[in-house]
Symmetry: C3
Amino acid sequence: MAILYGGDYNPEQWPEDTWQNDWDLMKPVGINSATINVFSWALLEPEEGKFDFSKLDKIVHLLEKNHIQIVMATATGALPFWMTNKYPQINRVDTYGRRQVGGKRENACPNSPDFQRLAKELVEQLAKRYSKVDNIAYWHISNEYNGYCYCDNCAKAFRTWLKKEYHDDLESINHAWGTNFWSHTYHSWDEIIPPMRIGDTYDNGKPVLSGLDLAYRRFQSDSLLNNFKMERDIIKKFDNRPITTNLMGSQKDLDYFKWAKEMDVASWDNYPSFDTPASFTAMQHDLMRGVKAKPFMLMEQTPSQQNWQPFNSLKQPNQMRMLSYQAMAHGAKTIQFFQLKQARNGSEKLHSAVISHSLSMETRVGKELKQLGHELAQLPEDLANAQNNNQVGIIFDWNDYWALEDCMGPTKNLDYVQEVFDYYRAFYNRKIGVDMISKASDFKKYKLIVAPSMYTNSPEVTKKIEDYVENGGNFVTDYMSGIADKDDNVFLGGYPGLLKRVLGLKFDETDALPFDHQNKLVADRTIIGKGSLVCDLIQPVTAHSLAKYSGVFYDDNSVLTKNHFGRGYAFYAGSKLDDSAMNFFMQNILDQSGIKVDLTKHDVEIVKRTGQNDTYTFVINTSDQVKKVSNPDPAAIDLLTNQETKDLLELKPFDVLILKK
Amino acid sequence: MAILYGGDYNPEQWPEDTWQNDWDLMKPVGINSATINVFSWALLEPEEGKFDFSKLDKIVHLLEKNHIQIVMATATGALPFWMTNKYPQINRVDTYGRRQVGGKRENACPNSPDFQRLAKELVEQLAKRYSKVDNIAYWHISNEYNGYCYCDNCAKAFRTWLKKEYHDDLESINHAWGTNFWSHTYHSWDEIIPPMRIGDTYDNGKPVLSGLDLAYRRFQSDSLLNNFKMERDIIKKFDNRPITTNLMGSQKDLDYFKWAKEMDVASWDNYPSFDTPASFTAMQHDLMRGVKAKPFMLMEQTPSQQNWQPFNSLKQPNQMRMLSYQAMAHGAKTIQFFQLKQARNGSEKLHSAVISHSLSMETRVGKELKQLGHELAQLPEDLANAQNNNQVGIIFDWNDYWALEDCMGPTKNLDYVQEVFDYYRAFYNRKIGVDMISKASDFKKYKLIVAPSMYTNSPEVTKKIEDYVENGGNFVTDYMSGIADKDDNVFLGGYPGLLKRVLGLKFDETDALPFDHQNKLVADRTIIGKGSLVCDLIQPVTAHSLAKYSGVFYDDNSVLTKNHFGRGYAFYAGSKLDDSAMNFFMQNILDQSGIKVDLTKHDVEIVKRTGQNDTYTFVINTSDQVKKVSNPDPAAIDLLTNQETKDLLELKPFDVLILKK
Amino acid sequence: MAILYGGDYNPEQWPEDTWQNDWDLMKPVGINSATINVFSWALLEPEEGKFDFSKLDKIVHLLEKNHIQIVMATATGALPFWMTNKYPQINRVDTYGRRQVGGKRENACPNSPDFQRLAKELVEQLAKRYSKVDNIAYWHISNEYNGYCYCDNCAKAFRTWLKKEYHDDLESINHAWGTNFWSHTYHSWDEIIPPMRIGDTYDNGKPVLSGLDLAYRRFQSDSLLNNFKMERDIIKKFDNRPITTNLMGSQKDLDYFKWAKEMDVASWDNYPSFDTPASFTAMQHDLMRGVKAKPFMLMEQTPSQQNWQPFNSLKQPNQMRMLSYQAMAHGAKTIQFFQLKQARNGSEKLHSAVISHSLSMETRVGKELKQLGHELAQLPEDLANAQNNNQVGIIFDWNDYWALEDCMGPTKNLDYVQEVFDYYRAFYNRKIGVDMISKASDFKKYKLIVAPSMYTNSPEVTKKIEDYVENGGNFVTDYMSGIADKDDNVFLGGYPGLLKRVLGLKFDETDALPFDHQNKLVADRTIIGKGSLVCDLIQPVTAHSLAKYSGVFYDDNSVLTKNHFGRGYAFYAGSKLDDSAMNFFMQNILDQSGIKVDLTKHDVEIVKRTGQNDTYTFVINTSDQVKKVSNPDPAAIDLLTNQETKDLLELKPFDVLILKK
């Protein structure tokens, strides 16, 4: 199968007599697939129990006729008004206790029995009817799942979920969440209610009982996952083709590592802003590859302009192509757009599309789409399924994310994704590939594991880390790590709890620096950079101090340490490092880990994928300037031109080379 | 009738034995009118159906006795508590679904049958009783209508309104609003609900279906207008004197062009802030004259200080007089204040008034009021009714305003009123008088029509513009113009839709510049200024390119164009122009249009009104500095001193001259 | 009794077998008291009417066994979930009309009959049972009372409260609040509803009827006070030991002068932020001493770090000790912490405590706690009960606070606490001790009374001020003083109302300066500094002008005045003074008042307390720098070392000396 080059297609928004013209325009461009039926519930079921597939049949037929691969959505992402009017409890209740009314999308209460029943009925009909269609490539369940509900149905379902998680033992909840705090002791299950702004959270949204809030987040993530699984299981009864739902990178609400286990393939929607660094987009791709540790689908991106950001810049010439190949470099096996035909009305009418309002492909963007389409058509299938094998794993953990969001103190400025990105970027800038992994991943594959702000910990994870390091692994972590268990009970006896042993240090205090205050950091009486955000007042035990604070009352305390543990090393950073201090720290880490940095490859992105047959090195100019770079793979062939490559590569603005070997 | 010099008067807030003293103070100042009964419903009807006009009778008698002209309000602008308690549905529901409780003002649900009935009963009593009073000059219905309601009564009335607007055809609504987007298809009228924050709008308030939101805005504007019309019709049964309600300049909620048709005379409330440019106030006056294309009443201004702004500066010496004459220059035929006597309590107690808390007129402000009063008494009636005849019309359109507010993309920074003001100010700075007009106005009167960000368009308006230009008119428009029809359906085939022909250009892309980014603009290799906000990537077809972008990837695209079309010219600007670029553009436009700029009249405001007998040229120093300016009308007489004028005029800070010829 | 050195202790959050270890750790540190039972309602009454004191009995027994003084709380500060679920009306309704659900704390509706009944039942049980315990030192009712409710029960109770306050006369309310404004006239008591955001307040929260809002604030403060009094009266039946509740400095909601009358001893919780000036903390202490004009308990502070502020800095070495002695200098007779043992979970887990997560006292903070504990153990009881006698009184008045919060105009930037602090700091910087007093305090004790922004006034207070000045007192006030009566009716006849006579001036206008605009102030043609915020345009009558404005249109108006009145002087400032202008003004005031400033005592805080036996002068280095200062009391003995003191004192960072004489 060729690399899918397509996107969301909503012909039901247009007169039928315009449909064939869409394909007359898009087939020459190379568009070979369409994601359909994403938001058609109101058309498919105009009143409860009465189904009408006539329009969808026509759309499928249109695509069959034009030999277009279909990504078939289940249409459950947005609700018909008859449904939200008839069953108000399907509408979510927000954290202020406000029952929503109909409209928008991705907002059904996941625990509404009515919603579950109606979605089941629809998807059964769809799966039965369209499982026979040959050119369906994937099933696409709902759309961009997100958000939480706080209604009574959720409260009830939450208690059921808790009974299972806590073995039907209310006392174990009282113990796990420390409910004697502020008279929160539960004496019956019915006393447990969701944490809401009109209830048990502060004005800043932080919960009083973080144990409760963490449980509620897990429960809501699971509730939506149950919606997904219900639809998936119905489809699986009729059809064996792969099933996905489109994810959204490092969003906060859902634990994608848990979700990905239930998905045949991960897919996601990439919408960088005008000021999103290329390195951040790279991290998002690596995360979306990481949740299944497999190539993923780029389900959505835009040919040029978004519409929902504060400032929707155009993508510059070649930038869309660059972003497409960047995705592929990090593991994408499809290139898909939202959307194929720009809407005339509704809130997304100014979101660019393959067919723009001009109804012409002879536009700047149209020509770029065509060039990319023709290039993709030449690429080997081996590339689409190639693996990204890296020496460094960075742990990303939604439970840590949530627990840090819930944490009152020490600073309001800590942002989990930003903390992870600090380390990701340090590797990215050194052209060192990274896998985004979970605590459950196989550590042994990696020379180096980094766990930024790994707030929650357990004896099991501690043992896994200790075993990894003992056997020669290198482990890095930093402030706000190892603080508490999964219910947010702090590990006693000094920070960072169970990690004290492998790190060879302890501390009792963490200073919080206001705003942009910074402390100087020194090694051998030389300033190596600055620390900000927080400062752990580290007392090394067995660890070797790499750097200390300077000019503050805790001068004597270490900020960077390295501990020889078994055959490996464990590193710790007690403060947020600026570039200079990060450079010092990384040099120590990389030297010890035996990971080489080729400093000749500066200023472009270099990513490698390994296929069954060949190795593919992507050289990506993410900037709007010409870049010259020494060839990282001198013997390689330029995959797109099939020509040999020179020692010095010159890349035009946003240009990309794929070196095959 | 002398020029009305008065304002809101609320003696019911004071002991009766103080009333005559008010007039002993104010008559020497020249106050000759009083607006009464604005907020007296609770006094007039202490319980449902029981009326008590005794206090109002006394007030009317007081004013008759003192020979004071009355502006008689209908008292329906604020609701008694017995009413809001007894009929909770009279209280509006806000966009978050919160039913309001009693209090504040201008907040009755316009579609509440109870409110309609009770208002009707009150106004019938009032009209019957006071139609016999001789010294009523005007009727004043309610007060500062504004705001929307989202209750069930409104939802019901909205469906009725829609049935009429869309010919009882639900399918035509589905088509007009593109409801297949996100499964919004309506299958029955009852499925249509108002667009609310707890429903179909984004967190930023933008609607999912702009067609629905635009309709709801029109409906709510009409609903309040129906309230107005009901009261007006009752009064008309008893009294033929002119009826108004006080408007609020470029407020967003109500389509004043539609309202003005129903009013005998427009009136408005002018409350500039300490940092409001004089040019902005001028535009507001011109708009308030424009809605009826007739002189208007300045219903409210303050003698010195407001109370509800963040920083309530004093008006400086002579500034109140200057602002009064500025109003008159732009078409005011009355000078009225809020209010005649400063309140002792309530939220407006620190709002200045003719009689201040000092209870003395021998204050700085009191003396200025007296001077102005004596001047106004001398002015000829011919001036009050004089016309403002201008060569330039700027289109202001509430539907464009609303549609741009509803628009997701391309930038959050677009502000319709600011866009209009950019062009208004360009003329103001050149002493070129402007009429604020609607798309329904007679274009032929003008040498030049400017339509800033004229987002919505139609074949009819397009034809009107084309006819106008073909017959020698000059037309200017800019970015975000001509995009969509009245239901926000984008015109296909390239921007700016139907305007492509008259403008002689097209484009497919509009870049959005973040924050205060600017692009350089060049003509003949010379930088003419900078563009910001958005950049249309214009491809001239028949148009002549006046200027292009420089230093961006779309260098080759035009930013300013001029198209010879028939006997006239159509100009287009693809970006928000800084002063320098605007200067370049205006020079081209004015040269072509044959509108002269007299550069000797710098730095003061010059406005001309034409009466039956004479022409009146206002020379207004809007600054706190002395200004010297060459006499724009050397043969004229100074109306206030009745003396001849010199060739060089010297104006003290905030001074004003009225030159009569 | 030794000085209490202890804090909140929540052993119910920990396994019982850890309890004795807490005291094995804390007794060597000197901890001698524990505040218990603050949030145990859910444990004490696991279901309605079923009480279980077994755990509390054990805790009391533990403390008795270890000879620890108990501060016994009544546990009514947080509600069990069974209660908030069973009686939803116990949950408050917020100003947006949202009924809260269970959780958080200090949020019972004070007018809920169910809450009142249930609290009564609990406290009766507690008082009866524990009144026999010997080592209870104080009773502590509820916790940090705060916040308002807007429910129907409150509305009902409000009407009852109003009937009493306004002598059952609805007309007197209509008159007092000026309800004819905006048709707010009440015709029956039931028409009165609380001022809410969904009702009678503007979007910025300012009320339409400030009279109503002021009454509602008084009523809500009284309602919570009634809750306090109910509990107090129950305890008093069984136990005569002193009763307190912990206050919160200059918080806005409650009128602490009224509250303090009902309390045996005042206590409060001191939580400065990283950027709180020492002078501001000093003012808070003086206010908390002032509400009863007696020594107070420092009920809560933190050993090092808070958790709920945006940036929770560590206290630096010796800073906790310094803050403890600063409290004592200003009248504290106990030093207590929140809390004794750091929580493992819940929102306060990162709030530092005597026993930290390390479970060791051999930490930096632990060692500092131990040093302080040993010092406090040596201090004489005479010191704890010593008086602060000062020559200057500053009026702090919650009614003024509220009225200024409610005021629409002239500027949004006026902040009552900041206005008071401006003057407080001026004295603080000059080492002049201040008493924070009420309008009901005895003025004659003071050489100088300062009343910053004393918005409300009455004939009685006016007479009191006039008598005070006539008899030789010195009185200072400034802008926004004397404006209105207790119901916010402006005094007519020119500002500042009834104060015109004693001040010897009047004015009609007050300019508001936007943002950080400033006007120059001059005396004898010399610039003495700048004024900001507002500018009263003062016309001296009998007063002498000390300084005028310069460079504004009101040049001729005075800004600073001094009026000889009887045997004393009354000073007035018409603008917010910068340091330079304040210096000029203070010099005039202090010279006239005969208050000496010893300029040698610079840069440290100096506070004096007078005991039965000795005088104690605290010399406090509030900075992290070494300070040298001439000994303010050369003959004194250093209380902590019992050694003689030198003429030149050298204080290490955050060091404190107590000089006994």
